[in-house]
């Protein structure tokens, strides 16, 4: 869980970094170049397989945890007050993860399937990825769904970042507070960046 989590965390930095190129307001030129590079460089394509493997492993591990943990308490309490001893998001990683998975399916169908169809299926697109984004994010409902997805991502990362270190056995009086701060900073920056993309495109701020 922790290893795949950290792997996905690293991926998100790259993902957010490249997508942030849209904010250069150069009509998506840099962004399109980066996107083209990402989807056509063979090393990156190889890494892409690894990314999917990591993601699927992460999901699989999550499901297996969920099933084992359910078995560990077959009879539930009639009255329980978990909020007295733990944070809701730390207890909701499974639900947040499921939301993220649903979001991801939508997200991939918007931006990934098309690119791949072009690459492997010979289906030709006239639109650049940047133009696709503009089109997708012109729909208010989709923008709202994206923002919801990013909020789920935020809480998932907020807990997941420091949790990964704990699982890997790193808990240190001096460094753990630092890890927590970095984790929060990371979650905020990544999620704000991601959320701004659909919002600013919908509002027409990106040219």
């Amino acid at each position: 869980m922790a290893m795949t989590g950290i792997f996905l965390i690293l991926f998100l930095i790259v993902h957010a970094g490249i997508n942030a190129c849209i904010f250069l307001n150069d009509n998506g030129e840099t962004f399109n170049q980066m996107a083209h590079f990402m989807s056509h460089n063979w090393i990156l394509r190889f890494l892409e397989v690894g990314l999917f493997a990591g993601l699927i492993l992460h999901i699989f591990q999550g499901l297996s945890l969920w099933s084992q943990n359910n078995k560990a308490r077959p009879v539930q309490y009639h009255f329980s007050q978990p909020s007295k001893n733990s944070k809701w998001y730390s207890r909701s990683m499974g639900i947040l993860g499921t939301l993220l998975l649903l979001f991801l399916i939508m997200h991939l169908s918007h931006f990934y399937v098309g690119t791949k169809m072009e690459l492997y299926g010979g289906v030709h697109h006239d639109e650049t990825l940047f133009e696709e984004m503009k089109e997708v994010f012109s729909n208010l409902w989709i923008v709202i769904l994206y923002v919801v997805g990013v909020i789920a991502l935020f809480w998932h990362l907020y807990h997941g970042f420091q949790s990964a270190f704990q699982t890997l056995g790193i808990n240190h009086k001096r460094y753990t507070p630092l890890i927590k701060i970095i984790g929060i900073g990371y979650a905020v920056i990544i999620c704000v960046l991601f959320a701004l993309m659909p919002i600013s495109m919908y509002l027409g701020c990106i040219k």
């Binding site: 084992q68 943990n69 560990a72 001893n85 730390s90 056995g169 790193i170």
Partner: protein, 254 residues
Amino acid sequence: MEHYHMNLTLKVWRQKNNKSKGKLETYQVSNISSEMSFLEMIDVLNEQLITEDKDPIAFDHDCREGICGMCSMYINGQAHGPWQQNTTCQLHMRAFKDGDTIVVEPWRSTAFPVVKDLVVDRSSFDRIIQAGGFISVNTGNAVDANALPIDKKDADDAFMAAACIGCGACVATCKNGSAMLFVGAKVSQLALLPQGEPERESRVLNMVAQMDKEGFGNCTNTYACEAECPKGISVANIARLNSEFLKAGLSTED
């Protein structure tokens, strides 16, 4: 402290034995002093039940001073009740007020089957210790106690981990029914001390294997265990367990 008296409604889990189905029963107790301990309040209820020709509530308790780890009630949705760093026997009735309804349930975990009412079987903890929670030193084998100086900080950390009373509140509290805090505390104690070094790897691997075999869940780092632990055992011990486990897992030749 101002003392007061109160009338309470209790909803208590009743279950005849391991095979029968249980349910919550409602009882009334009156004129309970705020100076009583929670278990003394249950004593009052039990005396009342016996006089009414009813079966008293079975519950585990022994030292009633917060150290033996035998008492184990899930009170109003929290292991050992509303006070932090506290056992059920040390919970006092001044935590409640007149007219309150209190729900009392047994620990819930596959690895802690209910024996009767609020009594559960925690022998799974003993079996985890049997798997490796010891230092193999036969009586008489020891060298002089001061032959091996130990860094005070390590000794203190080992002591803090060793403060675990094995009550099982961590398991009862954890949404996953995980025993990682219990196992982490013992592994940490022995990993921090030079005496524990020779069996360091086999210990952690065997204890974790036994923990999984008993049907405890996995840790997802909600840290509820630390918040409810009557002895305040830190989740840093779980991290140490994780790192000991990873290191041992990578280096073992089996």
